[in-house]
C-alpha cells in the first residue's frame, strides 16, 4: 500500500517526522578570544577541557571556560563534544568544586552574551551556534 504513494508524499512525511526535531543549524562553533594563539583543537583536548581534566589549550595557554546557562545549543554542545548530558555536566563540575579540584565555568544567559564576554576577555573559550553572529571572536576548528 505504501509503495503506491507518490514520492513527494514520502518526502513530506519524512520532513514532518524529522524536520521538527533537527534545528535549522545543527552545528556549533568553538570561539575564543581573538588573541588566542592556536587555530584548531582536537576533539579529545576539547572534551578534557570542558570536563575539567585539562586547563590549557594544546599550546599550553591557560583558558577560562564560558558556558551557556542552558538551552538546546548548550545541550547539543555537551552531547556532541563533551559527551555528557546537562545533568552529568552540572553534577561533575559541582563535584570538582566541592573536592577542591575545579572552579565552575562562567555561565552566560545567551549566545550574544557569550560572544560579548569572550571578545572582551583574554583566555576565554566558549561555543555558539554557527549561525549566531560572532564578530570580534576567533573561531577554533575542532579536529579529530
Amino acid at each position: 500500500m505504501f509503495s503506491t504513494l507518490p514520492t513527494r508524499w514520502w518526502c513530506i512525511g519524512l520532513l514532518a517526522a524529522f524536520g521538527a526535531a533537527v534545528p535549522a543549524s545543527a552545528a556549533d562553533v568553538l570561539i575564543a578570544h581573538p588573541e588566542t594563539a592556536i587555530d584548531r583543537i582536537d576533539h579529545d583536548s576539547l572534551r578534557a577541557l570542558f570536563q575539567g581534566r585539562k586547563r590549557a589549550l594544546p599550546n599550553g595557554q591557560r583558558v577560562d571556560l564560558v558556558v551557556l546557562a542552558g538551552g538546546p545549543v548548550h545541550e547539543r554542545f555537551l552531547a556532541d563534544h563533551v559527551h555528557m548530558t546537562e545533568a552529568q555536566f552540572q553534577t561533575h563540575w559541582k563535584k570538582l568544586v566541592f573536592i577542591g579540584q575545579g572552579r565552575l565555568p562562567r555561565s552566560v544567559a545567551s549566545e550574544a552574551d557569550m560572544v560579548k564576554l569572550i571578545a572582551a576577555t583574554k583566555g576565554t573559550v566558549g561555543y555558539i551556534d554557527a549561525a549566531t553572529p560572532h564578530d570580534g571572536v576567533k573561531v577554533l576548528v575542532i579536529s579529530d
Partner: protein, 407 residues
C-alpha cells in the same frame, strides 16, 4: 550554573588603594544535607531501629586563582552520623594547587584522598544517585582515615593518542584526629570477656602516621569507559586506655578496676581497588573490587590479621531532568577466604534501589531501600542485649531518605 560570589566590589569599595591592587576574586560555594535512616533490625550507622535524623553534612568552601597556575582553596565541613562527627566543624580540605602543565601539577596542604572512583567525593551527596556509597568498598568505618590527608599530591594527565589518556595521582602524608572518629569507634567496640568481667576501651588520640599511594584512571578509546586502579598504604596508631572491671568477691565487695594505657596500631594496612565505569548517554554503570590486608597490633603484639574484600556492581539511569533511578549489589567479606556464609558477622550483602529527584538545580531529594543479609559492617556497640551480649539478625531491611541543597 552560576558563579556565586565575587568579593571584588567589597574590596573595591575600600578606596582607591584597593582598586589599584590586583585583587583575586574569591568563589564561595556550599552545601547542606539532612538525612533520615531506619532499619527493621540491627542498628546500622546510627540507632536506626528507632529511626534517626543524626545524619547530616554541611560544607562551605572558598577558592581563588592567585595566578594562572596557582589556586588556593579551603573547605570547612561538619557532619553527624550517630556518635560520629556531632556537627563539629573541621577543615575538610585546604589546598594550594600548582598546575604546572596538564602533564603535572601538585597539590599540598590537606588533600582529598584519591582511591576508587568515588572516595574523593564520598561526602558530597549531590555527586551521586544513591544516598550511601556501596559500603563494601567505601566503608564508613574507615572513612576518617580515608577522606583526606595532610601532605602532597602529584597529579596529571598523560595523553595516549589512539589508546586514550591516563589520569594519575601519586600522594603521601599523614593525619591526626580527635577522639571522636570512626576508626577509634571500631576499637572501642566491646569484645567477648569472661562472665562478670567488663572491658571498655577509650581512645584519646588517633594518628595516621603515614599514608602513601597512587591511582591511575585510563580513559579508554571506547567513549565513556574508564578503568582504574588504586593502591594505598596506611599506618594508623591509636592511644587510649583499657578498663577492666573484675568482681573481687561476692557482693557487697566492690569490683576491682584495672586501668591500663594501651596503644593500638594498624601499622601496615594495604588497600587496593580495581575500578570500571561506563557512561552511555543517561546510563552509568560501575563496578569496583577492593581488598584490604594488614595486622592489628596491641601494645606491640600482633593480635589479629585483616584480610577483607568487597565488591559491587551498580547502574544509574536518568529518565528526565528531575528523576534518576539507581540500583546496586554489594558484597563485603571480613575474611575473604571464607565465603561459606556461616557466620553473619563475617559478611554483608546489600541490594540497593535508589531514587533521586532534582527539585531544582540547587535542591535534590533521595529515597533508598536496602535489602541486607549479614551484619559484618554493623557495630557491636549499637547491637547489644540488656545483658551485654551482642545481638544480630541475618536478614534485615534498611531505608534512607536525604535532601541536599547547594549553591
Amino acid at each position: 550554573m552560576t558563579r556565586v560570589t565575587r568579593l571584588v566590589p567589597l574590596l573595591a569599595a575600600l578606596g582607591p588603594m584597593a582598586i589599584a591592587m590586583e585583587v583575586p576574586t574569591v568563589d564561595i560555594h556550599g552545601f547542606a544535607s539532612q538525612g533520615y535512616l531506619y532499619s527493621t533490625k540491627n542498628n546500622y550507622l546510627v540507632m536506626s531501629q528507632d529511626g534517626s535524623t543524626e545524619y547530616n553534612e554541611f560544607g562551605i568552601n572558598f577558592s581563588s586563582d592567585l595566578t594562572d597556575d596557582l589556586r588556593l582553596g579551603i573547605q570547612i565541613f561538619a557532619r553527624d552520623l550517630g556518635e560520629l562527627g556531632n556537627d563539629q566543624p573541621v577543615i575538610d580540605w585546604a589546598v594550594a594547587d600548582y598546575h604546572y602543565s596538564d602533564l603535572i601539577g601538585v597539590r599540598f596542604g590537606k588533600v582529598k584522598q584519591p582511591f576508587g572512583l568515588y572516595n574523593e567525593s564520598r561526602d558530597i551527596d549531590l555527586a551521586r544517585t544513591s544516598v550511601l556509597l556501596p559500603q563494601s568498598v567505601y566503608t564508613e568505618g574507615f572513612r576518617d582515615a580515608a577522606a583526606s590527608f595532610i601532605g602532597i599530591d602529584f597529579y596529571g594527565r598523560l595523553p595516549g593518542g589512539p589508546v586514550g589518556s591516563v589520569d594519575y595521582q601519586l600522594y603521601g602524608g599523614g593525619n591526626s584526629f580527635e577522639d571522636n572518629n570512626s576508626i577509634a569507634q571500631a576499637f572501642e567496640e566491646p569484645v567477648a570477656t569472661p562472665p562478670g568481667v567488663t572491658r571498655s576501651v577509650v581512645i584519646d588520640k588517633t594518628r595516621v602516621k603515614y599514608l602513601y599511594g597512587g591511582q591511575i584512571i585510563w580513559n579508554t578509546p571506547l567513549d565513556g569507559l574508564r578503568l582504574g586502579g588504586s593502591l594505598t598504604a596506611v599506618s594508623v596508631h591509636l592511644d587510649g586506655t583499657v578498663t577492666l572491671i573484675i568482681p573481687s568477691g561476692p557482693p557487697p565487695s566492690p569490683p576491682t578496676n584495672i586501668i591500663t594505657p594501651t596503644t593500638f596500631a594498624l601499622p601496615n594496612l594495604f588497600v587496593g581497588i580495581a575500578s570500571a565505569e561506563y557512561t552511555w548517554r543517561d546510563l552509568v554503570l560501575a563496578a569496583e573490587y577492593s581488598r584490604t590486608d594488614g595486622d592489628i597490633i596491641v601494645d606491640g603484639t600482633p593480635v589479629a590479621g585483616i584480610n577483607s574484600s568487597g565488591w559491587y556492581v551498580s547502574a544509574a539511569y536518568r529518565f528526565n531532568p528531575w528523576f534518576e533511578l539507581g540500583a546496586a549489589y554489594s558484597v563485603y567479606a571480613s575474611h575473604r577466604e571464607d565465603w561459606s556464609y556461616t557466620d553473619p558477622r563475617s559478611y554483608q550483602e546489600d541490594a540497593t534501589l535508589s531514587a533521586r529527584f532534582d527539585i531544582n538545580p540547587h535542591w535534590i531529594f533521595k529515597l533508598e531501600a536496602h535489602g541486607m543479609r549479614g551484619a559484618a559492617l554493623v557495630d557491636r556497640s549499637d547491637n547489644t542485649n540488656d545483658n551485654g551480649s551482642e545481638s544480630f539478625d541475618e536478614h534485615w531491611l534498611f531505608f534512607a531518605a536525604k535532601t541536599t541543597v547547594s549553591f
